[in-house]
Symmetry: C2
Subunit: 377 residues, 2 copies
């Protein structure tokens, strides 16, 4: 196995695969990257227990200057190899496998000999062949991930809640996440036949969203019983699915409300962010929102007995309904507002004991978030 390739172009592809490579793992071989060189190009594979990423560099891509002298496969320790490639002096480098899987990397005045491993010791990736294929705009799917994944649970006590629940049927796609204190639900119109119901780990989706930041292509999704495959450009992203039944969340979202405030999301975010500097100083981390439509007053408060207190007057667009005094974790609201982006939003409350909803003022059917208040009396 021997090839020469453009160094910076290769590093870009390598960095995608590195996302899947764990820095520590009980399966030692997974700290490596697998190289498979055929006459058509170079395939790189990285994997941990949850995610596997494959990327293919075709010999036909002229920008990669890929010159193949002989084909083959080998595994190299990922972090160490990438550190070397990053620092090599030349525009291109040559990668040659010698006896006993030793790999010689040469570039300009540098020569590194690195001990490699037999490619046969690498675990096989799942084969996903007959599954139906769904297609999304990568930008839309990335938005959907970022708007839901914030609400997945960080607690392993109920593993199913660490994922995002996808339901696909004739009505379209519904993605829901909840850690039981808050919930985020995103709808997508989807012209697709068939019924799908699956839960993708939040960590997998977070990694996928970061990769999609630079991707313009469509993204193709294939689902089996325990795996999902996202295919985009020359990259394949595999994730295991979470096993178990996701709780029914459809009836959690309140349909009625008694107090409604419309406000610019960025304005409210700045205020909550400031007040949370104070609430973070106290053990319970709670802020208090007081709404009075008659007096046209909306005030955000926090009090930490040993440190001081904070008060913000909110400039809202509209405030209607009954007087309300409600307390909640400001960090949940900050996450929710960040996920809304630069837009006007509508907060709808019933009592100070029931969850309140946050929706964009326009297009509110498609994105709903829910926050459970904290009882302070």
């Amino acid at each position: 196995m021997k090839f020469t390739i453009d160094r910076l172009g290769f590093m870009r592809q390598l960095s995608n695969v590195l996302r899947a490579v764990p820095s520590k793992t009980v399966i030692q071989i997974l700290t490596g990257i697998k190289f498979d060189l055929t006459d058509s190009g170079l395939n790189l594979t990285g994997s941990n227990a949850d995610i596997s990423i494959e990327t293919f560099i075709p010999v036909t891509d002229e920008s990669m200057k890929l010159q193949i002298e002989s084909t083959g496969s080998v595994i190299l320790t990922a972090r160490f190899f990438s550190e070397i490639i990053k620092k090599l002096p030349g525009e291109t480098f040559t990668f040659e496998v010698k006896d006993n899987f030793q790999v010689v990397l040469t570039s300009s005045v540098s020569e590194f000999t690195v001990i490699g491993f037999d490619a046969n010791s690498y675990p096989r990736l799942p084969e996903i062949t007959d599954a139906t294929e769904l297609e999304f705009s990568s930008e839309v799917f990335r938005g959907l991930i970022n708007q839901t994944v914030l609400a997945v649970s960080a607690q392993e006590s109920r593993p199913i809640l660490t994922g995002v629940h996808f339901m696909i049927n004739a009505d379209g796609l519904l993605a829901v996440a909840t850690d039981s204190h808050r919930l985020a639900q995103r709808k997508l119109d989807l012209p697709v036949a068939g019924n799908y119901d699956f839960v993708i780990p939040g960590k997998s989706l977070g990694e996928l969203a970061r990769m999609l930041a630079d991707v313009q292509d469509e993204i193709h999704l294939k689902i089996t019983d325990n795996q999902v495959l996202f295919n985009f450009g020359s990259t394949k992203f595999y994730s295991r699915l979470l096993e178990g039944n996701y709780p029914d969340t459809t009836r959690l979202i309140p349909t009625d409300s008694t107090t409604i405030m419309q406000i610019d999301a960025a304005t409210l975010l700045a205020s909550v962010d400031r007040v949370s500097v104070m609430s973070h100083e106290s053990r319970n981390n709670v802020v208090r929102l007081q709404l009075n439509a008659e007096n046209k007053q909306a005030t955000l408060l926090s009090n930490s007995p040993d440190v001081g207190n904070a008060e913000e007057n909110l400039s809202f667009t509209a405030l209607t309904g009954e007087v309300l005094d409600i307390s909640f974790n400001p960090d949940y609201l900050k996450d929710a507002l960040r996920a809304c982006g630069a837009t006007e939003i509508k907060l709808a409350f019933t009592t100070n004991l029931r969850p309140f909803t946050i929706v964009p003022s326009e297009d509110g059917d498609y994105y709903v978030q829910l926050i459970t208040p904290v009882r302070t009396f």
Copy 2:
């Protein structure tokens, strides 16, 4: 005590003082910043056991929009206060001390009440009045710090070696640091009368150098038996001096040599940096330099039995003298080369057991570094 001030301008001054404020300390009051407001302006003080920093915002500085309603003093917890100021919404903010040292901070729609402390509980800064004053260009002094402080010892076993030794006399200024494995010595022509010999902690100098990065003014230095004061712009920087006798280093620097290589510092740095990726994988972290003037060859090598090996051919400007095979810690050479900057340097060797010197090819008298080799046989 009550004043209004430009928020961003104030934050810049505050950030200087924050450099001295420890995040953890046994003397609880030192986690605070002291505010002293007189008719002439606002003074901010921060301090830890080693460094104290004072900065003065004069009422005459129009850019600061300082409006004084009533004078006084108070202490506020530094990190918490600065986090609030950073996030306040207005261009200016008002700072008012109420009963029991409570401070009310108002800015646009925000109002924070923060518990403060009696300014009398703050320790007094040393008074430095009669000492002789020396004057430096802040840029030159910052360069001098950065070129020497890299060689101070990180080990507290010989405290005196954690500082930089300054000797000032009719010949000029000599600054020396060594951790006994390497040494850095910088000379400065200085038209000054008198004799000074003192050792400033490396940590103090590192902090001072970071502050000087934005400073154009001259820097004024005053020395007493146990303190040094650097005065620049409207800032005062105090540091304690290290007690004890610094070892005599004058005879450590070899004057003869048998092999000399001239090479571009950046080229050599890139090569050592790459080879050190390999040496860092082995326990002893050593690279090997082989020089052969007759064959016009200079090679840098590293071998880590479990991982592989690396080899670099160096492109030098000149190589003269005897054949040499010497081993050393590559990180010491990397530090030394970074301190040299973009310039051609001269490395001078005697045997592979004796320290070698690194000097800029031009101006070599003013800056000398020394690295002790590692015996590998």
